[in-house]
Symmetry: C2
Subunit: 340 residues, 2 copies
Amino acid sequence: MDVKKQATIVDVAKKAGVSVATVSRVVNGNYPVKQDTKERVKEAISSLNYVPNVQARELNTRKSSTIGVVVPGLHNMFFAEVIDGIEDAVRQDGFSFLLNCAKNDPMQEMNAINALVARNVSGIIVISPNTKNISERFYEELVARVPLVFINGYHRIKGVSYVGNDEKLGSQIALEYLFGLGHKDILFVRGANSDSYDIKEEAYRQFMEEHGSLREDYILNIGEGNGVETVDSAMNALQGLIPRLKPTAICCCNDLMAVGALNACKRLGLSVPKDISIMGYDNISLSRLVEPKITTMDQNMFQLGSNAAKLLIENIHGGQSKRIMLDNVLIERETTGISM
Amino acid sequence: MDVKKQATIVDVAKKAGVSVATVSRVVNGNYPVKQDTKERVKEAISSLNYVPNVQARELNTRKSSTIGVVVPGLHNMFFAEVIDGIEDAVRQDGFSFLLNCAKNDPMQEMNAINALVARNVSGIIVISPNTKNISERFYEELVARVPLVFINGYHRIKGVSYVGNDEKLGSQIALEYLFGLGHKDILFVRGANSDSYDIKEEAYRQFMEEHGSLREDYILNIGEGNGVETVDSAMNALQGLIPRLKPTAICCCNDLMAVGALNACKRLGLSVPKDISIMGYDNISLSRLVEPKITTMDQNMFQLGSNAAKLLIENIHGGQSKRIMLDNVLIERETTGISM
DNA sequence: TATCACACAGAAATCGCTTTCTATTTTAGC
DNA sequence: GCTAAAATAGAAAGCGATTTCTGTGTGATA
């Protein structure tokens, strides 16, 4: 394909019979230019389809209006919804963003981040669900050069901004709600390798202990889950377990697992919520698309994303780094009911 | 936040006691440099944490390893899955991508594209479901400057690459399948403002006409749908319509509508597929997460994305523009059965 | 020993833009 | 009508890199 060369500021200047400085001034509108000169330049601009080269501009001004975003992947709607929020906030401030997927691999995550730094992004948002294996050193070095915002997880690196949801509190609220409904035999379903699951299990253990109902065999780990496959893992595991353990409620670490639980119940001929209650977490769109709609704890992914983006941009403009905790809102729908 | 300045090539040159040209040569390794000079430079580089500024490099070489991606939004899993495919292919070639959402608005779409051009992307992938209102002129001008790949839709602009799925054929296959099952009273469900819906309706009309079963009141347009809300629109519309029209099958333009249809049937106490069959289109992950799992026509969004990205990169490197049509594969699952 | 080629490294031009500095008009003030 | 100030526009430097051009010092060849 033969690609025509983009017109540059020099072409415009030539065509309009002025200097490049003048063209720059009418483009940016930050210096006075006489009306008819301005019009001549504008004419030249539109006739040449001139678009200023952002790279050159940013090189000159040593500013960058691009940020980087690193997520594990998009197969899980959770991340898609977060990115939706980031996109929205970012665009309002005239920023763009580069998206990278790290596939839950710390090595790939670091590579992605280095690539972003080389591309001169002015800040980075990182969602790294599992922080056990990442290099704190790496991030400490990084945060000295580029503003950083983490979303969720266990991040304790000083000077890094953070947007998350108090998942411990959220889990407690969910459990209290289930208890209030009369449930005592509550199965806990989690996956492997995520800070979030660890936090929630901790909350579950503590809560159940305090209420004298902790049973080790009620804690189910369905293993490594790749996005949507989590649904089937949960379903398969639960289909065998429910008849044996006879819980009256299932508390899941996320909505994907809750859908799996729901499907397992259907296959077992159990009526939800009459025979058994199911509780999800996150409030991804899927949770209100299935029948019955799933009761869940809202994480408001869109806000997670847009808050992170706004905070990052604030930091880029010199604002203090800070930690934002979003509210936990219980979304009561159709999969939870009074225990018989 | 106080951000340390990134080291530049000049800093490295100074530290190593060489010229910037030499530093550039050891970084790029395309010219001979004496062994011990090379080592001195490398030392300086790592001690200063030097990362070459990609913007400056690309400005100079007039190359860019960034592509742009424009989608309507991420709220619909369809696009998330396509982007997943793009990401995968793009990274393998050392490219990055900027993501923009156009919200189904031609104006925003053009703005997004201009922003990408300004950012000096070397190519653009566009998913624009509704091409009725876009300016052909705009795209004709554009394609002369930047390699372009469209995904899906009615694009007939010369010289533009295209990756899609023959939706007319796909619809015919679906309808034939339903007819083979004995269905004659097939409700057709579509939304507003999308090329894809128009193509499918045309296929439906033609097929039903040929088989002497076309009824105008069997064509249902549920209106403008914003991603996930489509499910509820379809459900609400169908809940009233099914008892009145008594179709034996429902053929939906996408899986979201199929889920809505499924939910409507559940609410009406209809058993799927015993009382009524439901057919989706796309094969988004949602379609296999609900119970019963939805029979659908696979679009393989991941491949749509990765093919588009590969084709774009090919075009960037000078390859001919072309049109790729992906196969239609019927995924037979649990919502379709023999008509009674 | 003189000559040539070659390996190596520095100087300088360039990419497309912004911005300071400087020069020229205008305009205002008296 | 003359000077001072303000408005306007050009020239040139600089952002951080690459690359061509040029100039060294070394070793090989005659």
